[in-house]
Amino acid sequence: MAPPHTPPRLEAPLLEVLDLACQRGGRRVFEGLSLVLEAGVLLALTGANGSGKTTLLRALALLVPLEAGVVRWQGKDVAADREFWRGQIAWLGHLDGLKGDLMVRENLLIAERLRGGDGSRVDAALATFDLTNLASRAVRTLSAGQRRRTALARVVASGAVLWLLDEPLNALDAPAQTALRTALATHLASGGLAIAATHTALEIPGARTLELGVA
């Protein structure tokens, strides 16, 4: 598969997080959190339930307000140009983000066009997760694992530099896990960046780990 984007080969860090603090439901989930990530890095977020993995992912995407701290992308505060920042992100939440009444391929195409893309990477992404023969099935008829694969294919099809993944291994069988690892390796090799909240080890060589403590 061709690299989906030109790798920004910069020695400078791609993503910097400084002194981040977040609340959820009136409770401080984490504070004083700092990170520096270069291109080609996978960061695995670990920690017990309720330790703030999902909140951190949502905070990085600016989906929840930051109580304190700053997120920088290529040295610039991401809050200054939110639309640009959203364009850099491919999101996999704990929900799959798929419409049950749309077909697998339709879901990917529409999601891609909503991001402003042309959908040219959709078919390759479907092939990556062995979904080609399910392409015209309605998503509501799929199993949980097949849906998760479709959602992952959506992430791959986006061609975004930063992947934010919440429990990407959920419901995946062994071949699908291998497919995800291959896709991640390709993404990282082409200069991408990925942050994944996970319980299970991702087993990607060179992956860094950040353990979030229970507050």
């Binding site: 989906l63 959203r86 799959d96 983000g97 798929l98 419409k99 339709e106 991001r115």
Partner: protein, 221 residues
């Protein structure tokens, strides 16, 4: 194709896949209006006088009926996060959802209402006025309802709460919509009413998408 158009077409395609949801709303409109002659009595003069108010109120209820799923379905399957993360303004996404809602409810209601107006003994000109006021007024109802839907996203007792929030805000549209038809029935001019209805639609168009986007961002937190 812009994200706005993609989202409108997506929602229309989803409705196309499940036409039952819209059919139920239109059926409600027909059945609810038919109840009034049965409750009030078949006297033609009385019905013609009540027609404007009855048809407008029924259209208002019908367009609110389908609104509680407007954002809730995207919220439940996680697509709302993708809309929040789309690299274009969320205000436009909110507007696109309301536009799609209007195309599948407001517009059919405006087409259907004159047919029911015949049964209420409205004259030909008033039937046209009825259709025109609904065509101009229902976008406002979709926008106000969309705001209520975004505010109640994830709330307990969402549906009833949505109606409580939206109905008082819909009253100006109801008043001018119904009174336009009424003045037409009594043979007076209705141009001012239509102008005010248009103004209400424009004010809603200019203000409510921002409020909706703010509410959706909160819903995404």
């Amino acid at each position: 194709m812009t994200g706005f158009a993609v989202l409108v077409l997506r929602d229309l395609r989803l409705v196309w896949r499940r036409p039952g949801d819209v059919a139920v709303v239109l059926a409600f409109f027909v059945v609810a209006t038919t109840l009034f002659p049965l409750g009030i009595g078949p006297e033609t003069n009385l019905l013609a006088r009540l027609a404007a108010g009855v048809l407008w109120c029924a259209a208002l209820f019908a367009s609110l009926l389908s609104l509680d799923r407007l954002f809730a379905s995207d919220y439940d399957d996680g697509v709302l996060d993708l809309l929040l993360l789309a690299p274009w303004p969320l205000e436009l996404a909110a507007l696109a959802k309301c536009a799609a809602h209007w195309i599948v409810t407001g517009l059919p209601l405006a087409v259907l209402a004159p047919l029911l107006g015949v049964a209420f003994g409205l004259d030909a000109k008033s039937l046209l006025v009825l259709a025109a006021t609904l065509a101009v007024g229902t976008p406002t109802l979709s926008l106000i309802g969309g705001l209520a839907a975004s505010l109640t996203l994830g709330a307990r007792r969402g549906g009833a709460l949505l109606a409580l929030l939206a109905l008082p805000l819909c009253i100006p549209t109801l008043i001018f919509g119904a009174s336009a038809v009424e003045t037409s029935v009594s043979g007076e001019g209705f141009g001012v009413h239509l102008a005010i209805l248009t103004a209400l639609a424009l004010v809603s168009l200019a203000t409510l998408p921002w409020a909706m986007a703010a509410a959706l961002r909160q819903g995404g937190e």
